[in-house]
Amino acid sequence: MNILLNNKPETIFDGSTVKKLLKHKNIQNKYFAVEINQKIIPKSDHGTHLIKDGDKIEIITAIGGG
């Protein structure tokens, strides 16, 4: 299925959870947040939340700023 990840098109396996996507993308940074279609997915739901075709997924982190 096709998703938009941080505004870039991606193709991922059907039935992927947020946790699987994070593993697939090798995101090891412990400071991040996930939002799907402008709704935050809490870390406690990453293992069960299924990604759907067409989902717009944002993975954000903290960077330098004033």
């Binding site: 941080n6 940074n29 400071y31 947040a33 935050i40 954000i60 960077i63 330098g64 700023g65």
Partner: protein
């Protein structure tokens, strides 16, 4: 003693630092250490996915165990964008509710959009966020933000990154005199004397980024800012003398050795 209290937490340092514009994370870390600050701002942005897998994150260098991390809403131009950013920051920082709200008007001046700022502050306070709010040096707006329930109000000294210093000391003083929450000058500081003036005016703290990060020697400037904030606070507490038009000798006139 003379501590700054924000969100029920005591701070010995009244200097808050931004973490942008440094050459690298090592320099950021060293500058923060030299400044003695205990609270730092960070920006919330999309993660750089699929590049260097061992790439370090800012928070690996600036640990939330050591510093109070203050996520900002820099780059937001509407209340809705700012609230969304704060909600993401809360999830990122495992439920922390302390945020720096800034809603800008246009990219050239980076001047705060006070209408959207007030709207966002109302939404965030309602959702139990602890809001440190960046705004103009308008005393009416500052009081309104206090009445909404913001944790502290942070009027600009001058435009973000301008280095001009405090352009309206009278307004800053008026804001301080009418406030019962901390007032922190945010933006515009160019050098140590600007920070010192802010503290002498009675500000509870100073927030800065560019003045340190873009100095020729950021670590040395960070140390200078540490001293200037302390000096300004001490001078305020000590009480300055009145200004006089004419001179007043420091040495006694009596007992002078003269030819008489």
């Amino acid at each position: 003693m003379d501590k700054l209290i924000i969100d029920n937490k005591e701070y010995s340092s009244r200097l808050i630092l931004g973490t942008g514009k440094y050459k690298n994370f090592e320099e950021t870390k060293s500058a923060l250490e030299a400044s003695g600050c205990e609270m730092v701002t960070v920006a919330i942005r999309r993660m750089n996915i699929g590049q260097d897998q061992n790439e370090k994150n800012l928070l690996d260098y600036v640990s939330p165990d050591v510093y109070t991390i203050l996520p900002n809403t820099a780059g937001c131009y509407t209340a809705e964008e700012a609230v969304r950013t704060c909600e993401l920051a809360e999830e990122l920082l495992n439920g922390e509710k302390l945020v720096k709200l800034e809603v800008l008007s246009k990219s050239e001046t980076l001047y705060p959009n006070t209408i959207e700022t007030i709207k966002a502050a109302e939404m965030l306070v309602k959702d139990n966020f602890k809001v440190m709010v960046y705004t103009t040096d308008d005393p009416i707006v500052a009081k309104e933000l206090e009445n909404i329930g913001c944790e502290c109000v942070m009027p600009l000294g001058s435009a973000i990154g301008s280095g001009i210093g405090i352009i309206n000391e009278y307004n800053i003083r008026e804001i301080i005199e009418n406030a019962s929450i901390p007032i922190i000058v945010d933006a515009g500081v160019g050098t140590a004397s600007d920070a010192c003036i802010a503290m002498e005016l009675g500000c509870d703290g100073v927030l800065m980024n560019t003045a340190i990060a873009c100095a020729k020697d950021p670590i040395l400037m960070a140390e200078a800012m540490k001293h200037s904030v302390i000096a300004g606070r001490q001078a305020l507490k000590a009480g300055r003398i009145k200004k006089k038009r004419l001179g007043s000798p420091s040495s006694p006139n009596s007992g002078l050795v003269t030819s008489d």
